[in-house]
């Protein structure tokens, strides 16, 4: 274009290219060896230490009562037997499917609720404080009333999960909406993103980090309340989930089974977090440049 040469000093483009190159951050992938040493070796070391101490307590006869502390190998056998009988995945699936389905419902309820509290002043004044107060109520407290309301069935489990997870999800979204920088809203308005368009294109994506944090906490709460519900509410038709397994172990005075159940509950809670929520959170933060590689 002819006007370019007449209005711009000729070297501008090349100076600009140089500046761009100088100021652009270099990025690369961390080598696997480094990831292995930094992220994988420490937790494995910790597990090995725990196992050694545990075995030491048994071998040195410091605790010499298998009904109080089973040996690691007894717990291992409990796992092995359930696996060989094909029951292990059944226990896990019963609880995980309940937990995830309940969490899905909690998302469906908590998301519009959070938006309403975040955006409508009257609703916020009315139920905002209750909603954040509910977060500090241990969701186990909902098990007795839920049993009375719904009886011993799956609805009762779902009710307990919902009451545990909905406040966290809604609160996460509310704080996400509160933290949307006003500059984004102004920029959106100058482009014509007002009303519903503004909510969809600006407010919701800007609130995503808070929302994901709320989801993560919501999952932790629903998993805990589900386990409490499964331990308290025993009924043959409900099937055996991890909570029931734990309670069955206790009534049978089978400490190996109790340990098996506790380890499974811990393992599943961590696994869901590691496989679903942590990657989701990292992706959200990294794509915005909010997560600096350490």
């Amino acid at each position: 274009m002819a006007s370019t040469e007449t209005t711009t000093a000729p070297e501008t483009g090349s100076v600009e290219a140089g500046l761009d190159a100088l100021e652009t951050a270099q990025s690369g992938r961390t080598p696997f060896r480094k990831t292995f040493v930094d992220k994988i070796v420490p937790p494995i070391t910790a597990i090995v230490v725990v196992l050694v101490v545990w075995q030491g307590l048994i071998s040195l006869k410091i605790v010499d009562d298998p009904t109080k502390l089973p040996s690691p190998s007894a717990v291992w056998d409990a796992f092995r037997n359930d696996w060989l009988q094909g029951k292990l995945l059944g226990y896990i699936w019963t609880s995980v499917s309940r937990g995830l389905l309940g969490f899905g419902f909690a998302l469906l309820i908590g998301t519009p609720l959070g938006l309403l509290v975040g955006r409508v002043r009257f609703v916020r004044a009315a139920i905002g404080p209750i909603l954040s107060g509910l977060q500090s109520l241990p969701s186990v407290a909902w098990v007795p009333p839920a049993v009375v309301w719904f009886g011993l069935n799956n609805s009762m489990m779902y009710a307990v999960i919902l009451l545990g997870a909905v406040p966290s999800i809604a609160n996460g979204l509310v704080s996400g909406v509160d933290q949307v920088p006003p500059l984004f809203l102004r920029a959106g308005r100058t482009m014509g993103a007002t009303g519903l368009k503004g909510t969809w294109h600006i407010t919701l994506p800007a609130a995503l980090p808070g929302y994901v944090a709320g989801m993560k906490q919501g999952w932790a709460f629903s998993w805990r309340s589900l386990m409490a519900a499964e331990i308290i509410a025993q009924f043959p038709d409900l099937g055996v989930g991890l909570g029931q397994l734990l309670e069955n172990g206790r009534t049978a005075s089978d400490m190996a089974m109790v340990f098996e159940a506790i380890l499974l509950i811990l393992f599943v809670g961590i696994a869901i977090d590691l496989l679903i929520f942590s990657p989701l959170e990292r992706w959200v933060l990294r794509s915005r440049g909010l997560l600096v590689k350490s």
Binding site: T7, A9, M191, H201, G289
Partner: protein, 260 residues
Amino acid sequence: MATTTLTKADPSVEYAARLEHVSKSYPGPGGQQLVLDDISLDVAPGEFVTLLGASGCGKSTLLNLVAGLDRPTAGSISTDGRPALMFQEHALLPWLSAGKNIELALKLRGVPKPERRGKAEELLELVRLKGAHGKRVHELSGGMRQRVAMARALAQESSLLLMDEPFAALDAITRDVLHDELTRIWAETGLSVLFVTHNVREAVRLAQRVVLLSSRPGRVAREWEVDIPQPRRIEDAPVAELSLEITEVLRGEIRRHGQH
């Protein structure tokens, strides 16, 4: 270079923005606080005007009024369509890539989906960021971000571009380069620009007309036509000379506030 997507100023419209007796006051501790007092100003189609003033002259308030983000207390403002606005901060949305930021502006303007990608590429090429479509905002340098923000503002295809100290946070070398780019793009597109700054040299370097605002309340204190030919550089003697003259008047305006 593709500039077909950009609006040339329509010669049948006699102004890109017209402000008539605009005043703005906010409720303050001692009653109503007058921020802008009786401002009348025309920006002609294709004209580059800088608004210059010290702190407290209500420059940003004035731009918000012209952008339609706020309403004047008195007087009227008319613009030819909704103006585009660039801020001191790039205000790019960090969850979208550079190109998608531009595409969002196109989408909100009603450009159909199949055309958006191509237009975004053209606009990136216009600000010399070819190939940056997929880059994340945090991967770009400050100067590159402001150029993407400029491309996004141009995507709105308004005939008036409002700029609120857009280069104030950049280092001097980058700012010089962006001055060149803005001058080039302004000449290529025939846009009208209303550019707010407190930097006298920047005002003279860029504008055809410099409007000096007094402070508290903001009034039009004086205007200068700048007939130094482009391309100018901020170090050029005529730029420095006029800057000196304007700075003296600006200092006089500021001095008045220390006297009572």
